[in-house]
């Protein structure tokens, strides 16, 4: 039993990715932009990877660019979408629960004199479509909405928000990092981003897809790679491995979602029975959640201590609690939904998770929480 339960950060490397990576180290090292034989072979491999990734995203190959990470993809998506529509306005609309990389790009835009409108969310972290639509004023250059929330698993109403954006001729960036390779891609995006390590590809590959006809201009210094969208040569072996993993994951996605969804449901229903004073987050409706992610907070417990004890017991999870992050502030997602920010745990199941790891976690958690509470002297409070 592997106790690795942090797939929302990085899904373990898919065997198909490992195989492709090893082969690519021999076949895919040359620069695809050169004209000699090794380069032509590299070009064919890169084109094939692009076609495979595009097919999984429901995009055309020439709409898809590879970036060095999901972080860079989000930065380029937001800043490039804003730059291309400067004449339309300088307003960016985001939800309060976007990934920190989207919000970091938003802050840079604000520091440069732009406007950022943040759409608040309710306790489930779901965006209200009407509230989002109301934020789309005529001077809005770009809107950004995640496909699903990375900390509590909430699937956002992307199709509905996309329709509202289309009515107002505002391009929509969809950060699809948590759904690519797991759930169908929601329709209606104009710019889409993703990260290969979330689907079982290697770290070091992000995806930026820009629909034909969508206005987007690189905010980076001029560079020819990836049709001018992502500076620098692609890490071809990593891209080939990422594409192989995505093909394999996409083929198994529906089965994985069903199986992991049942395991998540077991965690969601069982944790509050076994541990007192716990709140489980995300929507109650399974169809409105990511199948593999369960987030909860334990009252009076420090998130860092909880992660350390779970690690000692063999379980690797992440936490949005401030004492467990590099910053002193708690997760903006937990704050936005009014959650308890301490004692927070995010369990995200990798594709090989099984009953044994879930039951093991359910057995390990209650005594750990109880002993941390004993140590803090909070019993009866």
């Amino acid at each position: 039993m592997s106790g690795y339960l942090d797939a929302a950060t990085a899904e373990p490397l898919h065997p198909a990715a490992r195989e492709a990576l090893l082969a690519a180290l021999d076949d895919g090292w040359a620069d695809p932009d050169r004209a000699y034989r090794e380069a032509r072979r590299a070009r064919i491999l890169l084109d094939g990877a692009r076609e495979a990734v595009a097919a999984s995203l429901g995009a055309r190959p020439d709409e898809v660019s590879f970036t060095p990470s999901g972080t860079v993809a989000n930065h380029l998506a937001v800043l490039g979408g804003l730059l291309a529509r400067r004449r339309a306005g300088r307003r960016l609309v985001v939800s309060a629960v976007e990934h920190s990389t989207v919000l970091a790009a938003a802050r840079l835009h604000e520091a440069a004199g732009g406007d950022v409108a943040t759409v608040v969310v309710g306790p489930t972290a779901a965006v209200d479509t009407a509230a989002y639509a109301d934020a789309l004023t005529p001077d809005t250059a770009l809107a950004s909405l995640q496909a699903a929330n990375h900390e509590v698993g909430t699937v956002q109403p992307v199709a509905e928000v996309a329709a509202a954006c289309r009515d107002r001729s505002v391009p929509l960036h969809v950060d699809a990092a948590q759904v690519v390779g797991r759930l169908p891609i929601p329709p209606g995006w104009d710019i889409l981003t993703a990260s290969a390590r979330k689907w079982g590809g290697p770290a070091g590959v992000g995806v930026l897809a820009v629909r034909i006809g969508t206005r987007w201009r690189s905010p980076a210094p001029e560079d020819d790679h990836e049709t001018g969208r992502a500076p620098g040569p692609v890490a071809l072996p990593l891209v080939l491995a990422a594409a192989a993993a995505l093909q394999a994951r996409s083929a198994a996605a529906a089965d994985d979602a069903r199986r992991l969804g049942q395991l998540s449901e077991r965690l969601r229903s069982e944790i509050p029975h076994r541990v007192p004073d716990v709140e489980v987050y995300g929507p109650a409706d399974a169809a409105a959640r990511l199948p593999h992610l369960v987030a909860f907070s334990c009252l009076y417990v420090a998130g860092e201590a909880l992660m350390t004890e779970l690690d000692r017991a063999g379980f690797r999870v992440s936490s949005g609690s401030s004492c467990s992050s590099s910053a002193l502030t708690p997760s903006h997602v937990l704050e936005a939904i009014g959650a308890l920010t301490h004692g927070n745990v995010r369990v995200s199941l990798p594709s090989d998770a099984d009953d044994a790891v879930v039951e093991g976690f359910l057995d390990a958690l209650p005594p750990i929480v109880a002993s941390l509470r004993d140590r803090a002297g909070v019993s009866g409070l």
């Binding site: 004073d277 009076y300 609690s321 401030s322 002193l328 708690p330 937990l334 920010t341 803090a376």
Partner: protein
């Protein structure tokens, strides 16, 4: 008014201090928690929701955020 000074303490200590002192006051009366940990804003509100008490107001007091909590039961 009962004041709980949790300045300089990191989460979850401000909430634990509040929980320890809420029964110092009668139902209907308030406790003022001074806490400069940024997590306290969310956590005190969440604790009130979970325990059925009321976060009446948030303000500045002695240069630190102060949370006025009414004991309801």
């Amino acid at each position: 008014m009962t004041v709980v000074d949790a300045r300089g303490k990191r989460c979850p200590l401000p909430v634990i201090d509040l929980a320890k002192h809420i029964s110092d006051v009668d139902p209907g009366d308030t406790v003022l928690v001074l806490a400069d940990d940024p997590a306290a804003a969310s956590d005190i509100a969440a604790w009130c929701r979970m325990r059925g008490h009321e976060l009446v107001a948030t303000r500045e007091e002695d240069g630190a955020p102060a949370y006025e909590v009414r004991r309801l039961h």
